[in-house]
Symmetry: C2
């Protein structure tokens, strides 16, 4: 668990895109962000209050979250001056960077002196169990994609937001570093040892109230040969009651795999559902989530209508049009 | 790579079963075993020549392989006396124990002094790549099981042995610690980080001659919810041209999962084959391997005949009856 709320460190981000982790926190957990910390030359702006480290502390921030990608794969000395100062003031530091905070001796030494924590969310901090497959109480939704990076995290977050708005019981269960930083907890599944993947998902989504929903962040795709094992562990460890099919309609090929075309939504349904029913015989496919960010408004709506007719399932872009109809379908099972 | 040949350390094994790693080496790579080393009270005997460490050295042994399970999860002082002496004499030590050699400071210090290696085959020693999915030359077979521990390794080893006998080009590609100790190389797939599982299998079975077969050791089962992600990575990283379905007919439930029944061979075929065809559209199911160790001779034969008729595929217990018919089918594709 990463202590919240956060002060969001944008550093010297060259542009808005470089600060997408911070953007995710602001979009989905604005209550977790007391303000933003920007260095000279920062090209990103989340329209949060600019704060010094002192002002962030005074506003209640407990953790300085690195909400920006670093350049060239090193944590620069300019960044580290700020991070060391923050640690001395009692902040925890949280990071999803490939370069780990724990590998920076000066930060480790400061944190030891100050008694604060360094959170590298890319690496597991828990000894996960081997999955036992025992049916858990409560309900679970998992987004499964025709490819990687098609909007599975946003689907889960949007469904969670809509459920909270309706007063339903729900928890977004992150399985990647951005989601973990957004919510302050989760499992960095792609960094878990193979034998413990499904067990890590069980650990993340334990027994709960019968009317509680875990919205599990999907990873990879059953059709993406580099990462399909991770997806498989999510399907079996997650024991989903509901699958939402996620798709990005403008891909020419599977992400990073020029020789592989995307499956149809029908193929995804027919592959994922029987596998999910091994762990949860009652699992259903309840909806389709289309990432229409590269389509115009009319095109987006007509594509959703077309897919809805073909698949016989509520079909929306939850980020663009809201997740209401996905939640209606989940609430009905 | 573990230097061969080996002297097989049986220690104070209480019985034959405790020495099953050594038994596997003797069964499948007798040329790798110059002899056995037994301590007082050893209840196992592989019918190899009993040798001292000196005699093993003189016979050409390069590595002392711990071919026995340790009791109580500790490497005893009695064992370590032998291991230290072996290291001083220039042996490498290889182990598949849960307790790692590298965690024993005295062994590490001796190995450093002697300039020999400690091989813990349960932990990866290679930084595996992320799978790229690019089609590789050569042919590959993967055994997929209705459950864990149904004879997938023995199927691969038996097919490899039969191919060698026929003068075909083949390599057994181990993905677990026993197989790695048997052959001296391989990937401990259950200990690989999730993101690199499929890449590790690609690494293990690179481009090869068009008429060369990699016989990839299967792990887990698509129907075993604890380990299915590992199986999935083998199917996609392995790009098999041929799947052999493996089954143990006397299981009451999935191994370690009392709530889960075994799938039928038909269900295994219909689940595994479409997934395999994502990575290799030409993949076929070429045979069935039944582990009949708990059946009498008549029962074993009549079961194989029955399954052969139902599945329309060559069906044998390769350990009991030889892998000839499985190899015939592989050679025909």
């Amino acid at each position: 668990m990463i202590p919240t709320p956060y002060l969001l460190f944008l550093g010297d981000a060259p542009d808005q895109l470089a600060a997408k982790v911070a953007q995710g926190i602001k979009d989905w957990r604005p209550e977790n962000a007391v303000g933003q910390f920007r260095m000279e030359g920062c090209g990103a702006d989340l329209s949060l209050t600019d704060m010094t480290l002192e002002e962030g502390k005074a506003a209640g921030a407990k953790t300085l979250v690195i909400g920006v990608a670093n350049r060239g794969g090193v944590i620069s000395e300019a960044w580290k001056e700020v991070l060391r100062e923050a640690i001395r003031m009692g902040y925890d530091i949280a990071s999803g960077l490939h370069n780990l905070l724990r590998d920076e001796n000066d930060l480790v030494a400061e944190a030891k002196r100050a008694g604060t924590q360094l959170h590298d969310v890319r690496v597991p901090s828990v000894a996960y169990p081997i999955a036992n497959g025992i049916k858990r109480s409560g309900k679970r939704m998992l987004a499964v994609g025709t490819d990687c990076s098609v909007g599975k995290m946003y689907t889960g977050l949007a469904v969670d937001a809509e459920m909270r708005k309706r007063g339903m019981k729900s928890t977004f269960a992150p399985t990647g570093q951005t989601g973990i930083l957004v919510t302050g907890r989760g499992v960095p599944l792609d960094a878990v040892i193979a034998d413990f993947m499904a067990g890590a998902v069980e650990w993340l989504t334990p027994d709960n109230d019968d009317d509680h929903w875990d919205l599990i962040e999907g990873q990879g795709s059953l059709f993406h040969v580099s990462y399909s094992g991770v997806t498989m562990a999510l399907i079996h460890g997650g024991q989903p009651d509901a699958l939402v099919l996620s798709h990005e309609p403008t891909r020419a090929h599977m992400r990073g795999l020029p020789g592989y075309t995307l499956p149809t939504l029908e193929a995804l349904r027919d592959t994922a559902l029987p596998l999910a029913r091994i762990a949860n015989p009652k699992c259903q496919v309840t909806g389709v989530s289309i990432n229409t960010q590269h389509l115009g408004e009319d095109e987006a709506i007509s594509l959703c209508e077309k897919v809805e007719k073909e698949m016989g399932l509520p079909t929306v872009d939850p980020f663009r049009h809201g997740a209401g109809r996905l939640v209606d379908a989940l609430d009905a099972i």
